[in-house]
C-alpha cells in the first residue's frame, strides 16, 4: 500500500518536473520530438534507479557510519558522474542496441538535476532501501510522462500560428504552465 502511495504521489501529485521544478533543462531542451524524449526518459530511468541504490548504500554505510554527512553533496555528485561513465562503458559492451538508443543522452544526465535531486530527497525523507528504489523508478516515470506529453504538444505547436514574439522558448514555457495547471488537478488524491 505504501508503495502505491509513493508511486502515485511521485508520478502525478508531486510530479518532479511540473511540481518540483527539477530537470527543467532537458524538459525544455530535448522535448522537440516524442522519440528523443522517450530515449531521454529511458536513460533517466536507468541511471536514476542505479544512482539512488548506490547513493543509499553510501549514505547509510559510509557517510552515516563515519559521521561525515556534510560530505553528501560532493560524494553524491562524484558517484553519479562516475556511475554515468560506468553505465556508458558497460552498456556499450553488453547491449550495443540499447547503447545506440540511449547513448547520446547518457553524458547529459550527469548535469540533470533530477538524478542528484532524487538521491538527496530519498535520504531526506528517510526512505528505506526498497522504498528508495520504488521512489526513484516512480520519479523517473513521472519525468518521462511530463517530457513525452510536452513533446507531443510541442510537435503540434510547430504547426500552430504563434505570435512572433512568443515563438520558441517563451511559448514552450506558457504551454508548460498550462500543463502544470492540469497536473495541479491531481492535488489531494493521496
Amino acid at each position: 500500500m505504501e508503495y502505491i502511495i509513493i508511486i502515485i504521489s511521485a508520478i502525478f501529485v508531486n510530479n518532479i518536473v511540473l511540481n518540483k521544478f527539477l530537470g527543467i533543462c532537458p524538459f525544455i531542451g530535448v522535448s522537440g520530438r516524442v522519440e528523443t524524449s522517450l530515449g531521454m526518459s529511458g536513460a533517466v530511468l536507468f541511471v536514476m534507479t542505479i544512482a539512488t541504490l548506490v547513493t543509499y548504500l553510501i549514505q547509510h554505510y559510509i557517510l552515516d557510519t563515519l559521521r561525515i554527512g556534510f560530505m553528501q553533496t560532493i560524494t553524491f555528485i562524484l558517484v553519479i558522474a562516475s556511475l554515468v561513465q560506468l553505465v556508458e562503458i558497460i552498456l556499450k559492451k553488453v547491449s550495443p542496441s540499447l547503447y545506440q538508443a540511449l547513448g547520446i543522452f547518457l553524458p547529459l544526465i550527469t548535469t540533470n538535476c533530477t538524478v542528484l535531486g532524487v538521491a538527496i530527497m530519498s535520504v531526506q525523507q528517510d526512505l528505506n532501501l526498497m522504498e528508495s528504489i520504488v521512489f526513484a523508478i516512480a520519479n523517473s516515470i513521472g519525468f518521462g510522462l511530463a517530457l513525452v506529453t510536452f513533446a507531443g504538444i510541442r510537435e503540434h505547436l510547430e504547426l500552430a500560428e504563434v505570435p512572433k514574439a512568443l515563438k520558441g522558448v517563451p511559448i514552450a514555457f506558457i504551454v508548460a504552465g498550462l500543463l502544470a495547471m492540469a497536473f495541479l488537478g491531481f492535488t489531494g488524491i493521496v
Binding site: 511540473l18 511540481n19 518540483k20 521544478f21 527539477l22 530537470g23 527543467i24 533543462c25 525544455i28 556534510f70 560530505m71 553528501q72 553533496t73 560532493i74 553524491f76 555528485i77 562524484l78 558522474a81 562516475s82 550527469t110 548535469t111 540533470n112 538535476c113 542528484l116 535531486g117 538527496i120 530527497m121 531526506q124 514574439a165 512568443l166 522558448v169 517563451p170 511559448i171 514552450a172 514555457f173 506558457i174 508548460a176 504552465g177 498550462l178 502544470a180 495547471m181 497536473f183 495541479l184
Partner: protein, 195 residues
C-alpha cells in the same frame, strides 16, 4: 571599457536565465518571493565567483581529459561551504531554499561558465565574468520573484499592500512557468530595441 562590458553583459545581452536559458531549475523552484530569489542568486554568485577564480588559477595543472570531473569537485566544495554557512547563519533562508542549495552543483550555469570561460581566460577576467554572470542571475531571480510575489500574494519584499490573497496560481507551480515565459518575451523585446 572591455571589463565593464564583461561585467554588465550578464544583465541583458547575455542574461543567463532570459537569454541563455541556463540554471532554470532553481529559477523556477525558489522564486515564490523576491527575497528567496535574491538569496538563491547571491548563493549562486558566490559559487560562480569562487569556482571561476580557482579554475582559472588551476587551468594549466588540470589535464584536459579529466577536466569536467575536476571542475565538478571544485564546484561541489564551494557549494558545501555555502550550504554550511547558510545553515549556520541564515537558517530560515536555508529552509526556504531547501533542496536547491545542494543542486547548485548541477546548475548548468556554473559548469557552463567554468568550461566556456574560466578554463580559457586569465584570472582577473574570469573573476569579473563570474561576478557579472552571478549578478545577472540574481537580477533575473529577483525580477521573477518580485513579479510572482506581487501577483500571487500582493506584497513585495514582504510588505503587503492589498488585503486578502492575490492570484494564488502565481505562487503555485504553473505561475512560475507562465511568469517566466512572459518575462522572456519582454526581455527579448528590450534586447532587440537596444541592438
Amino acid at each position: 571599457m572591455n571589463q565593464i562590458k564583461n561585467l554588465t553583459k550578464g544583465f541583458f545581452k547575455e542574461n543567463p536565465v532570459f537569454v541563455l536559458f541556463l540554471g532554470l531549475c532553481p529559477t523556477l523552484g525558489v522564486t515564490t518571493t523576491a527575497i528567496n530569489g535574491i538569496g538563491m542568486g547571491l548563493a549562486t554568485t558566490f559559487v560562480l565567483l569562487m569556482s571561476n577564480l580557482v579554475i582559472s588559477l588551476m587551468k594549466n595543472f588540470i589535464p584536459d581529459k579529466v577536466r569536467i570531473p575536476s571542475f565538478i569537485v571544485i564546484i561541489a566544495s564551494f557549494v558545501t561551504i555555502v550550504e554550511l554557512i547558510l545553515q549556520a547563519y541564515l537558517p530560515s533562508l536555508f529552509e526556504a531554499l531547501g533542496l536547491f542549495i545542494p543542486l547548485i552543483v548541477v546548475n548548468c550555469l556554473v559548469l557552463g561558465r567554468a568550461e566556456a570561460f574560466a578554463s580559457k581566460n586569465d584570472l582577473f577576467t574570469s573573476i569579473i565574468d563570474g561576478f557579472g554572470m552571478g549578478l545577472g542571475f540574481t537580477f533575473a531571480l529577483a525580477l521573477l520573484g518580485a513579479v510572482r510575489e506581487l501577483l500571487g500574494s500582493g506584497s513585495i519584499f514582504g510588505f503587503k499592500f492589498i488585503n486578502g490573497d492575490g492570484i494564488l496560481i502565481f505562487i503555485l507551480s504553473p505561475g512560475a512557468f507562465l511568469a517566466l515565459g512572459y518575462l522572456i518575451v519582454m526581455i527579448n523585446k528590450i534586447n532587440r530595441k537596444g541592438a
